[in-house]
Symmetry: C3
Subunit: 343 residues, 3 copies
């Protein structure tokens, strides 16, 4: 694909500064840009590095000084870069309709332009909105409803009665709607609590590869609009994930956890059941949360506490062996003086 | 589904107190019960909250006082609730026999009422007991034997020579019997140790979505009767998981770990290879176990130690920066006095 | 399978000491060897234990004394054992060619002896080298290139444009080439950064069950020759995994992490984005790395630091509650003396 720089400037709503006929053949990271690429520079400090790359052009902050390469000026270079990547993204090669090798149950409702890939399985009473893409080998259970333009990638599983909104991406291997993990101890062992609820996903949600989201025991496990969930995340029964929440890879939520709007969970975080993470709170990677976190707070560590406090504690911990020696020294010194006074 | 309260009381072996003709249309959690629902109250403290819900009836502890709603009394309300959920669980819509789109190898033995779903793959010499359900797109390797009434959900993989007992549930995306992770370092890199053992699963075992259980290097990886394993758990080669063990989400066991009967591992726990967790021991979430844990003990943290001791240490850690100051203060004070004495 | 001991000695390049006609019927671990098995003893300390087993023969270190069983002497018993396991490994039952139930796109190039399993899906322009095995229900996207003798197991997903070298094993449920996790915050929520790069895997690489390796945002996520990756590992966009690196189960790498040659990451390790782990460094299980680790270093804990230092700190932490008491005691003692001096 070859795109003149002027077209890119228009597509990203930026201001062209330099030769708009420059031909751009790809997009590159700052440390790997090749000839013909366009790269972006997020801060003025990186500008010199950007100029040294082989890139044909740069996206730079609006206030950047004059540059040796043609540039596009914009207040948010990274956002502009995200927009231009869409220009270079390979077209998905799906064609509308149901692949003949797919197995489809009764009463399928299929919107305009929707497609069902090879060897996919759809149960009964499935509803797919306009432009939905069900990838090859994906599995959609009975009574599932999927909103317009959502993509369910290869080999994802969406269990019965799940509802997914519009413009979502469900990545390969994700499992939505498996049983929650609930048992009642009895004298004969663990009695299973049947899981009869469902999973409800809002609009514009992304769910990562091999992530699992269990159905509600009763009621719903709910992922609200704009939430983004990375790979290998575990979300247990009856959790509620608020709007625009970000959950990084391998994080795990126990049952009935509530993550309020705009919160961010780092990777490998664990959250105890029935805990609430307040709006816009941030939990550092590997944090273990065992009680509610206030809105806007930044917590980390195990058990999770305010991040600054935790970092001071961990730093002090490294000096602890030496502190032990100092206390021993003090004790000896006092003993010695006691001895002197007693002589 | 509509069930008179009297029928539910019978099904859960409880004592009806109130109008047995009350029609129940669903089951609800205490914080989400709707009109027509039945909910449960596990302790007397929650009784008032239960009465305030819209629920049509409640399951309450035997000794609960009179209530404004019809109730079912029982010594174990949560167990009774688990039993009644089974009444409201949607019937699985499988029909006996092999779906025509499934691919089945030679010499399949299929018990009465067993079913193989759409696009499933079965290797040669597979044996399925009475009432076994193999979900759509599941993969069952050569020489696998699955006991009566076990369910292998959509897209699970059961590799060759695995043995699964009766009444188990293998959730979507689980992989049983992939190679263990073993290599011998050599001058030319890492030489693979071929993994020629198998996985053996007992009766009444549940294995979560996208969980992986590796085969033995030689011999077996064994999951014994009644063990319950959550999603995204990793169980390495030659582990032995005892009877009624509970393993929560994202926990990982290295090679040849033994978990004895009735132990409980919280979420995201990690266990070093060749370690033994004693019977009925409990490991707190995110615990990192690097040496044997005695039967009945409660351990947490990294490296895992007795939980009470660990919690005291973590609490003291938060006061450590202040302690450092206090020790500095003591040192200064002693220096000052030394100075006074020397004047 | 029955193999005379002499043949095994030849296969593993060892020195036979004892009756070479002894018939070996299997291979066993030291603690589970059965009659007819051959087992191995890695150190002289374990020799007596090896002699007590039911094994018919042992593999022992070259310098081992005379033994009551026939033995094979070798400088590296575990390596010899790995080699002989290959003799007892069941033959895979694949046959060359494409199973009629597989769905294959246009312009497939298939090497000699390559096989595509039942219900597998291959996109357009796929190239499979000689002897490649694509397992049942595996999913290979458009423009994927797979080198000779590589095995893609049942139900693995290899997304479009991925390149895999020779002699690799991709285990069941692994997902190569899903989107990286990148978003730009805006006033309207999180704007997706399109992920247009790819995954490139070298030769002799093993990738575990349900592991996910995301494609580069731009450019590549790269796994170099001889790297071994366990189950449920998460490797984010643009990571570079060096030659002969070992990554144990459930470890997670954020974006653009670089692991240099020969490094070893324990299980459940987490690594911050843009971090470099130096060549041959080792990170202990559950370690949380937030800054670069030098070549050859051994780090552990969170935040990860040199392992010895960390272990001393953790040990001291257990004595911290007592240290707090000792400091309180010192303070009291000084106050008491102050009182005495002031009287």
């Amino acid at each position: 694909m070859v795109i003149p720089l002027r077209k890119i400037a228009e597509a990203v709503d930026g201001t062209l500064d330099g030769d708009g006929t420059t031909l751009i053949t790809g997009a590159g990271a700052l440390d790997g840009a090749k000839e013909g690429d366009i790269a972006y520079v997020d801060t003025l400090e990186l500008l010199a590095e950007g100029e040294r790359t082989a890139a044909a052009a740069l996206i730079v902050p609006s206030e950047a000084p004059a540059c040796s390469k043609p540039v596009i000026r914009t207040p948010q270079p990274r956002l502009a870069f995200a927009k231009l990547l869409a220009l270079f993204a390979p077209e998905p090669r799906t064609s509308p309709g149901t692949h003949p090798s797919a197995v489809v149950g009764d009463a399928l409702q299929m919107g305009d332009g929707a497609s069902v890939g090879a060897l996919a399985y759809l149960g009964n009473n499935v509803s797919l909105g306009d432009g939905v893409i069900v990838g090859p080998q994906a599995c959609i259970g009975d009574d599932v409803c999927i909103g317009a333009r959502t993509v369910v990638n290869a080999r994802a599983v969406v269990h019965e009665r799940t509802v997914i909104g519009e413009d979502c991406i469900i990545h390969s291997g994700a499992v939505l709607g498996a049983d929650g993990f609930g048992f009642v101890p009895t004298e004969d062992g663990l009695h299973k609590v049947p899981q009869i609820g469902r999973v409800v996903v809002g609009n514009d949600v992304e769910i990562g590869a091999n992530t699992t989201i269990d159905r509600g025991t009763v009621g719903e496990t709910r992922i609200e609009d704009g939430a983004k969930i990375d790979n290998l995340v575990h979300i247990a029964h009856n959790c509620i994930i608020g709007r625009h929440v970000v959950i990084c890879g391998q994080t795990g939520l126990s049952g009935s956890v509530r993550i309020e709007d705009g919160a961010v969970l780092g990777g490998q975080v664990g959250i105890r059941d029935n805990t609430v993470i307040g709006a816009r709170a941030r939990i550092g990677a590997q944090g273990g949360v065992i009680s509610d976190v206030p809105a806007g707070a930044v917590y980390s560590g195990y058990p999770a506490r305010p991040h600054n406090q935790q970092m001071r504690a961990y730093a002090a911990l490294q000096r602890l062996p030496e502190l032990v020696k100092r206390v021993r020294q003090l004790e000896k010194e006092l003993e010695r003086r006691e001895g002197i006074e007693n002589t």
